[in-house]
Amino acid sequence: MTKKLLLLGDEAIAQAALDAGLSGIYAYPGTPSTEITEYVQNKKNQINGNIHSDWCTNEKTAMEAALGMSYAGKRTMVCMKHVGLNVAADPFLNSAITGANGGLIVVSADDPSMHSSQNEQDSRVYGKFAQVPVLEPGNQQEAYDMVHYGFDLSEKYGIPVMMRITTRMAHSRAGVNVTTSHRPENELRLPFNLRQYVLLPAIARKQYKTLLNNQAHFTKESETSGFNAYTDGNDHSMGIVACGIANNYLRENYPKGRVPYPVLKLGHYPLPRRMVERMARECQSILVLEDGYPVVEEMLKGFLGAGLVVKGRLDGSVPRDGELNPNIVARALGLADTIGSPVPDIVVSRPPALCDGCPHADSYLALNEALTGFSKGRVFADIGCYTLGAMKPYEAINSCVDMGASITMAKGAADAGMVPAVAVIGDSTFGHSGITGLLDAVNGKAPITVFILDNATTAMTGGQHSAANGKLEEICKGIGVEPEHIRVIRPLKKFHEENVKIINEELAYQGVSVIIPRRECIVELNKRMREKHKKENNE
């Protein structure tokens, strides 16, 4: 029996995991992956309230917890945005060597065109790097179906399976047929070989052989799973490989989606060798349509590009960067492009900005004033709402690189002689990756001033729990920051003068200072007040 639900791609993945006997989902919030875990948190009671779904401190801890749950024999999913996989890369790559016991799916959500990210790296490269099967859904229904298949595949070969989605897939809604019956969770069942996960060289070498021997099986699976499909066409002057949602843009360009060329719809890697060979044999050229990097294009072309005419992002048929859309695909196909009227000149851009009443605004105003006596360019910031402090009217920060880099970059710059050096990091980012850097700074007695902007939540992604919430001063003390140089301030206009004075005192200190501007996120505060109001009205 099935029923139809209107689901985001993210939600389809979550619903499928719940229906397929999930025991635990592990994640750190990150656009566009956040809604997978939120959906499980909101819906798990319909199936089993005991499913683990708490937010983790970062993607590495999430990946490791998932590996532990898989070790214990249960089905588990770990979700992150693409750059989160960099943080989880160590356990991810090694999990391909240990293998999986209970079904393990790693969802990595890429963000081509960088709607909400600092790069557009392609997770399929990591999948190939780890030599694990990768599933890339072409629509919401496939996202749902692939999770069921992915758990089975993972358990059949004892291998973690990656699922790669993109922003458009994650945040687009469509009707999805879902099963009305739920598969039970796995029983607790440890691996048959209790040394399997001990990656001492002698064991790792054996495990690696197993992984290599499985590659041929993985290819066979991708030829038979049904997620890769070869459709012949009349015009063999060109064949088209369309990966994931690129296939939708391709079909959009032809009435009733009838493409005149042979098409290999690709959703399951490694590449299905026989299908690719057929296309190379039967077509005069191959056009590759893929969101992200030219991964498939490079594989088909090879380094020398000899023998086969392959078109795509590398030869300029498709732009080298940015998300695909139906018009880009039309141009690559040599079809007439369409466009409406131009945007009138009076339309100006409306960039995102800190909210009215945001505590970060007051923190930046105080910091800017405290730094007026120094030359510019001293503030290393981090990833979160407060990155918007780079914009007018604040223009308060000089870096945003990766989670936690504010503190360590400030230390490096201070080591180079730039004093004072300032780091600005949010409470959730501090928990994610700031603590170890602060320990480095303390051990090196670096003259830096670290702002931990404590708004008590992970605000940018919609207000998820922040792992270090309520523990910031204790963590700093425990690491060795001197208690008299841990200063908590209230970022409010009325305390501005006092805050500037405190900041100046700590900028003058030739060691590690931590200033914690503490005030609840205004969005979360308003949400809380609305809920309180609603509750009171109901009573």
């Binding site: 909400s116 469509a174 959009e252 492009d337 009138p344 995102p352 007018k392």
Partner: protein, 194 residues
Amino acid sequence: MKKDIILAGVGGQGILSIAAVIGYAALDQGMYLKQSEVHGMSQRGGDVSSNLRISKEEIASDLIPYGKADLIISVEPMESLRYLPYLSESGWVITSTTPFINVPNYPEIEKVHQAVASLPKHVALDAETIAKEAGSAKSANMVILGAASPFLGMSFESIKKAVRATFEKKGEDIVNMNLNALQAGHDIANKKIG
């Protein structure tokens, strides 16, 4: 029947509620639907848009091609202009004239209104004032949806039903407030297009 709709506004103005109502009505009639949304960084007071596609036949792309949209439904006048490259020659723009000014270089509002007025097919209305008269400024988005309703290719009754279903959980008062706003927008659009 196939409608490709660009929904436009500023983060927090309720364009996703408009999408939810149209989506409910489309599904209720057994139609296919694809709707891409904006989450994350751009929601912080930036411009936001959503691609909503409804059709009796299966839909391929989540994104509407340039020059192919049947409708731009916008809750803010400058935002209605931002997506003109998506609008087809026969497409309509339905927009509120109430500006949302959160950038220092927001153009003179008269110029924005002139640009909207010069569009060959448009319905422009002061959604906020109309919404206030209908009960609350918060339902300006439903005024705009009401004004767009004659262009959606479905009965007004089915849209009313969808509004009821979308806001049911929030209580009868909220449902009626939104229905009043919807009706007010609907009446104005019908008058304008005769």
